[in-house]
């Protein structure tokens, strides 16, 4: 079984949204993903990190951690913050729900993560933080099928 792992920690400033999704994309490159798969992973990571910055830490300084694991052809990303936590996870996962309408948030973050990855789990404790685990299998595309 092929296995690889990595872990990065960075400050909760919005400049790091780009950094995070580029690291995630670079990490899966050895699995030879399609352009669509790369774009899906970048978007899902961007949503998770943006959530941590806007909702997790709000205006205070904090650290966001991304752990990446590869098991054969499946990649797993775990995005963790030590922020305020989510009081009602099922409500937060509803499409178009936003906790911050005044900031012109679309409420699509969790829906995008669910749609673009094969699975997504949310664990959160109020006052402790949030951990999002996403997995995606990157099958080699059979070129003969076009």
């Amino acid at each position: 079984m092929y296995k690889n792992s990595m872990k990065i920690e960075f400050l909760n400033i919005s400049d790091n949204e780009r950094f995070a999704r580029c690291v995630a994309a670079a990490f899966v490159l050895e699995l030879d993903p399609t352009m669509d798969q790369l774009s899906e992973i970048k978007t899902a990571i961007s949503e998770a990190v943006t959530n941590a910055i806007i909702h997790g830490y709000e205006d205070r300084e904090g650290i966001i951690t991304i752990e990446g694991n590869i098991y054969d052809d499946t990649v797993e990303f775990i995005v963790t913050d030590n922020g305020v936590g989510i009081p009602d996870i099922s409500r937060a996962r509803e499409p178009l729900f936003t906790g911050k309408p005044e900031l012109e948030r679309s409420g699509m973050g969790f829906t995008i993560m669910e749609t673009f990855m094969d699975s997504m789990e949310v664990e959160s404790f109020v006052g402790k933080g949030t951990r999002i685990t996403m997995r995606k299998r990157l099958n080699k595309v059979d070129k003969s099928e076009g």
Binding site: S39, T43, S46, E104, S106, M108, T115
Partner: protein, 115 residues
């Protein structure tokens, strides 16, 4: 980002370059809103042909500008989005309220026909 006014159509054209995420959204939003006030336009047209990445923060920007254009009696047009950006646009459902087109000219025509 480039902003220019098409006086004849009372339209502000917003040409965005690169990535439109939460980091970039705030400055884009502020620049557009300032220009709408200054120029007295009622329609907003987003040129996405140079946008390489967009997440849900971009949808927030479009929705907010749609509300402003609507309050002025105008409409919002999006054109030139690549496949991955278009996918986010489609998922959001904003295609029900804004005009998505292949070019500025066609977008403005379609938006005018829908008023």
């Amino acid at each position: 980002m480039e902003l220019f006014v098409l006086g004849k159509y009372r339209t502000l054209v917003v040409k965005i370059y690169g990535e439109l995420d939460h980091h970039k959204a705030d400055s884009v939003r502020k620049a557009i809103d300032r220009e709408i006030k200054r120029c007295g336009v009622i329609n907003i047209a987003f040129d996405f042909s140079n946008v390489t990445f967009m997440d849900s923060s971009g949808i927030g920007v479009i929705m907010g500008r749609y509300k402003i254009a609507k309050s002025l009696g105008g409409s919002t047009v999006i054109y030139g989005a690549n496949e991955s950006v278009q996918r986010i646009i489609d998922m959001s459902g904003i295609t029900n309220i804004v005009t998505v087109s292949d070019s500025l000219e066609n977008g403005l025509k379609e938006a005018a026909a829908n008023v």
